[in-house]
Symmetry: C2
Subunit: 334 residues, 2 copies
């Protein structure tokens, strides 16, 4: 890494607790990292009210395009950030749809889930492209040399899934990636795969359900722990254990989600980002810059293209004459 | 309720722990309820091995058709049970696709989620029919007079969702049901709605993700609680609190899922059903028989049809000339 300071543009207007949480988190990240932070937003608005709330997104992404910033971080509307990034930075050749890649804590490892919400409906080759992008991200960001890739489905058997997951499954089976087949929602959190691909609608439902269950369980546990004198005493003894437990599943520890597929590092953080979450999102952005994730992705896809040919968008010719994916539609079970 | 004993047919061959767990659970339910249980399966197989494993499903459902049993319970392959029930018992008029209705524990209430896995892809009017079935089920099984119905989506705003959820949303908005709009995965577990409708693929992903997160959190908590002497002492003090906590989220307490839309009560229980889970599934079947859930559903749909006309399958005429659902496709956010 060169001695030049990393510069991160941060959307001061995005998120439920903006601009306060953003400014606080950025200052902390600045101190910890020694990176340079460019806060983007209306100067007076940072102190008063938010107007034209998405314009800061555009400005921040343009800073990346003009090389005035190395990365952009926003807790604003994820759809607006994704489409803004696509419009301003353009896509990496070989990728038809950028995807939001979220890192989830699982029992044994960290799991990259994509797409977490950029594309509501996807074609099979989109899912295959997500797998390619996820594997590069996993390699450079999580140092996972040969990440296990799975397609999210409603069962492990090949006969499960939708027409789209079945075709994606057939494409991935033919690839050189470490593809392990379908994965169920349950096994995602056991860490049965390193990368889980799905359309953005399903990914979003899965992520938010996980968040909801964790919140619901946490509240119920709290209720039970304060239900009697004994349990209250017990809580005092095991307070450290509870604090560690909470920390392991606190989304604020996991920074943000990288938007994969655009020509520059853009990090989307949770709409409810606290200062702590913003700090970690900025740190993650700095890491992605150091690890040159976007550069490697573009390089792998555009220079040594052959590893992603299986995921190419089919031409009209392919569609007309090669539509057989080699998988039969399953007969209804009986 | 008449004095006649309720008769429940139970699939002795279905589930990972069959036949042992099934037999044990059935015996317990029999004792607690005073109901009559008919175990279905090969007599010798109940003690030895399982062969032709789905034939017990067919036999059990036929007992319901012939009025030799009031309900059927199986922990076997849910697809096989659903298609078997549809084939043997037939559908209720006005319903195009039966759906698996699961009851989830949420913070404030119990939530009915459907479809939990019978239909991988759905049309908008299927989702609307699920809402109709769910509301009748909620009324008679959970005594919820005017259940709040929501469509599962990736955000609350109308512009979110897929083409299918948006059309279902438009149909439900026109209905007389207590429709409250879109719901996010997160809010399902807060109990923001009483009924959540979605396609079976998404429903299955949500359910299994919830199961996986609960398991992962449970294991991590256990790890943390046994990480130091203090936390171990704390655990001893608060053991009752932990036991109660576990019980509140144990799927075994929630019996099975009712298959809604076929002309007879069929309960699908978890493939990993223990004896306790089987007992509760049988109890739930007996409740559904007493509450006449299926009778009421058929009656409401077939006699006073008007409340479900909005959910009718569109005719070719409708498709050609009335395709405008009144909802505009959202512009991409920018």
């Amino acid at each position: 890494m060169s001695n030049r300071k990393i510069k991160i543009a941060v959307d001061a207007m995005g998120g439920d607790f903006a601009p306060r949480a953003v400014v606080e988190g950025s200052v902390q990240a600045c101190r910890d990292l020694g990176a340079e932070i460019i806060l983007v937003g209306k100067e007076q608005a940072i102190h008063v009210v938010r107007k034209k709330k998405d314009s800061s997104i555009r400005v921040g992404i343009e800073l990346v395009l003009e090389n005035k910033a190395d990365a952009f971080v926003s807790a604003g509307n994820s759809g607006a950030v994704a489409s803004g990034a696509l419009f301003v930075l353009n896509r990496i050749k070989g990728i038809d749809r950028p995807a939001i890649a979220t890192i989830l804590p699982a029992l044994k490892n960290r799991v990259i889930l994509l797409d977490a919400g950029a594309n509501n409906s996807c074609k099979p080759y989109h899912l295959a492209q997500f797998a390619v992008m996820g594997s590069v991200y996993s390699k450079y960001h999580l140092s996972c040399a040969s990440p296990r890739i799975a397609v999210l489905s409603n069962g492990e058997e090949e006969s499960k899934g939708t027409d789209i997951t079945r075709e994606a499954h057939a494409l991935l089976r033919k690839s050189k990636l470490n593809y392990i087949g379908y994965i169920e929602g349950k096994d995602v959190f056991k860490g049965a795969a390193d990368i889980v691909v799905c359309d953005g609608f399903t990914g979003n439902v899965l992520l938010k359900a996980a968040e909801g269950v964790a919140e619901c369980l946490g509240k119920t546990l709290q209720e039970e722990m304060s239900s009697s004198l004994w349990s209250k005493i017990g809580y005092l003894f095991s307070r450290t254990a509870f604090t560690n437990f909470k920390k392991r599943f606190d989304y604020a520890q996991y920074g943000g989600a990288l938007l994969l597929g655009v020509r520059g590092p853009v990090i989307i953080s949770h709409g409810r980002s606290t200062a702590e979450a913003m700090k970690n999102a900025v740190k993650m952005a700095a890491q992605c810059v150091e690890q040159k994730v976007v550069y490697h992705l573009a390089n792998d896809l555009e220079v040594s293209q052959d590893f992603a040919t299986f995921a190419k968008k089919p031409s009209l010719f392919d569609k007309l004459f090669k539509s057989d994916s080699g998988l039969k539609r399953p007969e209804p079970e009986q």
